[in-house]
């Protein structure tokens, strides 16, 4: 248990008759950026709210930095949170907003607050009220406020929502910097896999409150790289022959389809080798699955399984 900074154990949340989060087991190591992907209403925010101590689990538990139960509340300044909106006081300056957060946590470190504002590209001497800030600046200020108290864990709920491309890039660079320079563990949620794939090192797909799949960035790009899709009625012989050709990187999708990720520039010779050995090839296609297609396929598969129950 101590190997993980955060570990949930069958954590569940019910709202009357609706199960928002359904027995989720999640483990986060120190310094990793974990991307939680799911469509709207999938349970991302509820899960993050529970982990931030802003909602009580109906069932299950979680431990953070080795503490669990009511003891976790001691870690108030070790966890940074940005749930949906930054919660800014719009008539106040950025520095005043930072001071509010520091005071709420019982901290008095003006110089540190200035450094934090600098680190997110905002000025501590800016006299403008934050109500005049752009959405991207507000989000960056929200992240700076979440960083008050030297947190080990940063929980960010859809921080790129509503941002323009420049704003998204700003946030991405900021998160990369935080992870590299301060080794902060970041749990970030979004419904855009494409965007998270550029930042997160590990991913979890949440659907209908359940964590249906987890994979690393390498696994994600492996799933989404270019492939040769061969359809045949004789899968047994085909797979044996492919192995015989020295191809190790392939995947049997179903009874008639096999995906090959190697020797893509030698399509002709692979197919002729199969046919020469009596395997009838129905079709051959080259393709590349997008990240979003991969995400949708996982969710659709889960929806079908759920509907079939």
């Amino acid at each position: 248990m101590d190997d993980f900074l955060l570990q949930t154990n069958e954590i569940t949340k019910d709202f009357k008759n609706i199960r928002a989060v359904d027995h989720i087991d999640l483990k986060l190591k120190k310094g990793e950026i974990y991307g939680l992907i799911g469509r709207n209403g999938a349970g991302k925010t509820t899960l993050l709210r529970m982990l931030a101590g802003l909602a009580q689990p109906t069932e299950g538990s979680y431990s953070l930095l080795g503490l669990s139960g009511k003891k976790i509340a001691r870690l108030r300044d070790r966890v940074g949170v940005l749930i949906e909106a930054p919660g800014l006081f719009c008539s106040m300056t950025a520095m005043q907003n930072m001071k509010v957060k520091a005071m709420a946590l019982g901290l008095k470190e003006d110089d540190y607050l200035k450094q934090l504002l600098d680190s997110v590209g905002l000025s501590s001497t800016d006299k403008r009220p934050v109500g005049d800030y752009s959405l991207g600046m507000k989000q960056r200020l929200g992240i700076a406020m979440a960083l008050v108290g030297h947190p080990d864990l940063l929980l960010l709920d859809e921080p790129i929502n509503g941002l323009d491309p420049e704003g998204i890039i700003e946030i991405r660079k900021l998160l990369d910097k935080l992870s590299e320079e301060q080794n902060i563990t970041i749990l970030i949620s979004s419904h855009i896999l494409e965007e998270l794939s550029k930042t997160a090192t590990r991913f979890g797909i949440i659907n209908r409150g359940r964590l249906i799949s987890e994979f690393t960035r390498e696994e994600l790009f492996s799933e989404c790289r270019q492939f040769m899709e061969v359809r045949t009625e004789d899968m047994g012989s085909a797979s044996t022959l492919i192995e015989g050709m020295g191809i190790r990187d392939y995947k049997i999708v179903d009874k008639t389809t096999i995906k090959i990720y190697e020797r893509l520039d030698e399509t002709g010779s692979v197919i002729s080798e199969l046919e020469k050995n009596g395997v009838k090839v129905i079709s051959v296609d080259m393709g590349r699955r997008s990240l979003e297609e991969y995400y949708i396929s996982l969710v659709d598969q889960d929806d079908r399984v759920t509907a079939g129950r």
């Binding site: 949170v81 940005l82 749930i83 006081f89 005043q96 509010v100 005071m103 709420a104």
Partner: protein
């Protein structure tokens, strides 16, 4: 708890709400004083007790809105959503304490200013009530401000809306809730066939508790009140019970929300 109280004070000092409240209060205080000195349009002679009642009317009118901000400053903009483990009851209780403290300071300030104002020789006050009456009246107003304060906090917690808490608070302050409850009470009495009620609910509203204090019908001159018209100990006891029950109910609501 201390950290939350300091935070709330810092936010309030730097917020525009405090500036608006202070600006409006200053206009009222200066305007009232000038009226008293005889340069205003209202030159009717009054007693000091009646004058204080008229002066405090402004504070009671703006109190629901002020309380809504004092209580909800950390919650309304979702700031509290970003304080980890911040939904514990301490955050809400700090709001309650802050609202009560701010009310103590503000109501105390208004009462002090009001009492001093009536000591200045002026063209309006024709009858000066004795010090004991003025002190008693001040204490009743202070208690009344706490009653209205806790009522607004309770309504905000009950309705889960700062806006509607303030609106219903204003209704209570302006007497609208009194009229509404009185109508419901009358309907109830007619429906049940009862001729009269021994415990008129409408008269227990925060508005009526203070209004009945100052009937202002003294002989031929209705603006001169020589003595307070109600049983003060009973009135204070009713206010104390009102405050205690409303505080307990508010704390129950805070605790219930905390468990979710």
């Amino acid at each position: 708890m201390t950290d939350f109280l300091k935070t709330r004070l810092y936010i309030h000092i730097h917020s525009r709400y405090a500036k608006v409240f202070l600006a409006f209060s200053a206009v009222w205080c200066i305007g009232f004083l000038l009226t008293m000195l005889g340069v205003g349009p209202d030159k009717r002679p009054i007693s000091s007790a009646y004058g204080l009642w008229r002066f405090m009317d402004f504070y009671f009118s703006v109190l629901p809105v002020a309380v809504a901000y004092w209580y909800s400053d950390l919650i309304s903009n979702r700031f509290a959503d970003n304080i980890p483990f911040g939904s514990d009851h301490k955050l809400s209780i700090s709001g309650l304490l802050f609202a009560l403290l701010m009310n103590l300071v503000s109501a105390g300030g208004f009462l002090l200013y009001g009492n001093i104002m009536f000591l200045i020789p002026n063209k309006a006050v024709v009858y000066h009530n004795d010090l004991f009456t003025m002190f008693t009246l001040s204490m009743v107003y202070l208690a009344a401000s706490f009653v209205r304060c806790i009522l607004v906090v309770f309504l905000i917690e009950l309705i889960k809306s700062r806006l509607w808490g303030a609106i219903f608070g204003i209704m209570c302050s302006s007497g609208l809730s009194y009229e509404l409850i009185l109508s419901l009470e009358t309907m109830f009495l007619i429906a049940t066939g009862a001729g009269s009620s021994s415990f008129p609910l409408a008269h227990s509203t925060a508005y009526m508790m203070v209004v009945t204090l100052m009937p202002g019908r003294d002989a031929s001159d209705q603006w001169v009140v020589r003595e307070l018209q109600v049983d003060i100990p009973v009135l204070l006891l009713r206010m104390f019970l009102y405050f205690t029950v409303a505080t307990m109910l508010t704390l129950i609501l805070i605790r219930r929300r905390d468990r979710k």
